[in-house]
Symmetry: C2
Subunit: 156 residues, 2 copies
DNA sequence: TATTGAATTAAAGTTAACTTGAAGAATTAC
DNA sequence: GTAATTCTTCAAGTTAACTTTAATTCAATA
């Protein structure tokens, strides 16, 4: 088993891939999305810092919490100068994430109780049904698929 | 204002579009997805039944609850012979939907409390962090984007 | 009847988060 | 030193839920 870990400066994408479980293509994609910003060696190969593994872990965990890449990028942008999240940063960001989750849960619970009120009804009328909220055409953005649980919430 | 509502047999797509607020292209798409099955007149134009408006309302409301078209198709498939959901059907289906929502809420709450436990921690370690659950590669289906809140739940 | 408005199909575009493939360059292993 | 890996870029494909466009045909109105 060869040592492709740290050649003189920085980690190779293959090594980072192994350590995080992310595929190289996903890691390159995250670079396109500016979630990681590796350096390059003389011949153009990516060289990652040790802290990038932590950074990518942050990305994966945040995704697990249900946040989009755009949201994660925003969260990372609140960090001073391209720094990888440390303990204090995580405390701050995760508190914010928690508030967003709370809001999502509350929204789902409200929907759930509206449904409960409608179970016996069966009117299915777009005019009167409490379950149907006409999405205002004006506010719709983009044309891709709508999110399963409403448009993404913005993080502060 | 012309009366394009019911010419001899059935409603035109334009009329159904007006009544439901859905665009004609969306209604045609739902036909591709076999959520509605209109007849055709001699020259090939779609002719909808009055009950199709109700059927489409069902679709829209179910989407508002967070269900995918595939899930809605499954739910409609439980109805005897292509019938539009009536009050009894709705009671049965909405009870099932409610259970799915409950499960989703419970899942989010569990995640939320795990996050709470991690706020002070900040380890962000893929090995030990309770927030990171390695998705088993084996179970992954398809290659499109993952759902924001986990893979879609199947409706009995 | 002529024109306008509505409908039809088929193909391609859109977002999100990646993957797959091709073709070539750099690195590593032997 | 040469073969086998790994890496690079760029373009195109994938899911979901539709929209947009194009080229026509049908239906309704004046």
């Amino acid at each position: 088993m060869p040592n492709k870990r740290l050649e003189n400066r920085g980690l190779t994408i293959g090594y980072v891939s192994e350590r995080t479980g992310l595929s190289p293509s996903a890691i390159r994609y995250y670079e396109d999305e500016r979630l990681v910003l590796p350096e390059r060696n003389e011949s153009g190969h990516r060289r990652y810092a040790r802290s990038d593994i932590r950074r990518l872990s942050f990305v994966m965990i945040s995704q697990g919490l249900g946040f989009s890449i755009a949201e994660i990028r925003e969260a990372l942008a609140t960090l001073p100068e391209h720094r990888t999240p440390n303990k204090g940063d995580w405390a701050r960001i995760s508190r914010k994430f928690g508030a967003v989750l709370d809001a999502r849960i509350a929204q789902m619970q409200a929907l759930r109780s509206r449904l409960d009120g409608c179970i016996g009804c069966g009117c299915l009328s777009l005019k009167t049904c409490a379950l149907y909220n006409k999405r205002d055409k004006a506010a719709r953005r983009g044309q891709g698929p709508r999110y399963l649980l409403g448009d993404p919430v913005e993080i502060d």
